[in-house]
């Protein structure tokens, strides 16, 4: 099988890599958004007497 510069395989691999990239970017955005929500919602506040230095 000959591999041309624009073989269908390249398109499929590009699509796969793009998909993984977008999923990772979305995961980062979700973790960031969740952290903001937890902090602003008081979900990550420390109890009195357990504050970190």
């Amino acid at each position: 099988m000959s591999i041309r510069a624009t073989h269908d395989l390249h398109k499929r691999r590009f699509g796969r890599n793009l998909g993984v990239g977008l999923v990772l970017a979305a995961f980062i955005a979700i973790v960031f958004g969740l952290t903001i929500a937890k902090v602003s919602n008081g979900g990550m506040t420390f109890q009195p007497g357990t504050e970190q230095n």
Binding site: M1, I3, R12, R13, R16, L18, V20, I30, L34, A37
Partner: protein, 314 residues
Amino acid sequence: MSDASINASSIREDEAGFGDYFALLKPRVMSLVVFTALVGLLAAPVTVHPMVGFCAILFIAIGGGASGALNMWWDADIDRVMKRTRGRPIPSGKVEPGEAMALGLALSGMSCIMLALATNVFAGAFLAFTIFFYVVVYTMWLKRLTPQNIVIGGAAGAFPPVIGWIAATGSMAVEPWLMFALTFLWTPPHFWALALFMRSDYDDAGVPMLTVTHGRRATRVHILVYTLLLALFAVGASFSGIGGPVYLAVSLVLNALFIRGAFRIWRRDEATSEADNFAVERSFFKLSLLYLFLHFGAVLAEALLKPYGLGGWG
């Protein structure tokens, strides 16, 4: 690496694309998981931050998808035989079984940990138990062992509203278990109708579906009996914590239609069914999808109306 260094013989024309890996997560089953978990989360008597709620549903859905990938990995041999599943990524040769297993295990771990972090440890642990139940108890153990596989395995598909509720409240209550029971009782007639019109699929694969072990006549009887039990429970639930006038109206109409469908299936013989290519069985199967969707929609409507003094009976 340049193209010149690629060994042409190692290149597969049908190499998997991103969509093939996504298909491992059984997107259609995932939509049921998302909807029922969402109803469980929104019906809970607490307010959840929208971002936390979104994350909870997302990670429950990913957990459901991960168990789907593990199911496809384990069942690749029977998927290859059945017409309905022959086109799945592993039997069609696009994805290697080991890849599906790795994806399933990675997403299982990630979804449970992230759900625990986003909501509470109880919810994360319950999601882990659900994945274990679906993959180990149903897929690996019961599916090839007993004709009651669908009945017991149906529990796995019924857990999402319970997880949604726990994610919101951090505790257990009766209401999510009523939603669990609704899906649990709905699963057998839904799948047995499918088994009737998929005919020889399960037979060829050696899966002990009721149609194979007890015959098609017995399956028709079972559909009717389970539908009657489901109808009794579904209408009775109108007077419980998840019910109300809206739910009662929806449930009465749907159960009347569902019983009618089950009764028609029970009355038919194989010759009549084959003559019209299982039209009644197919329409019953379609109705079953609408049945569950609208019942959960009614539960959601009752929960959303409550703050305005309209939902429920009081």
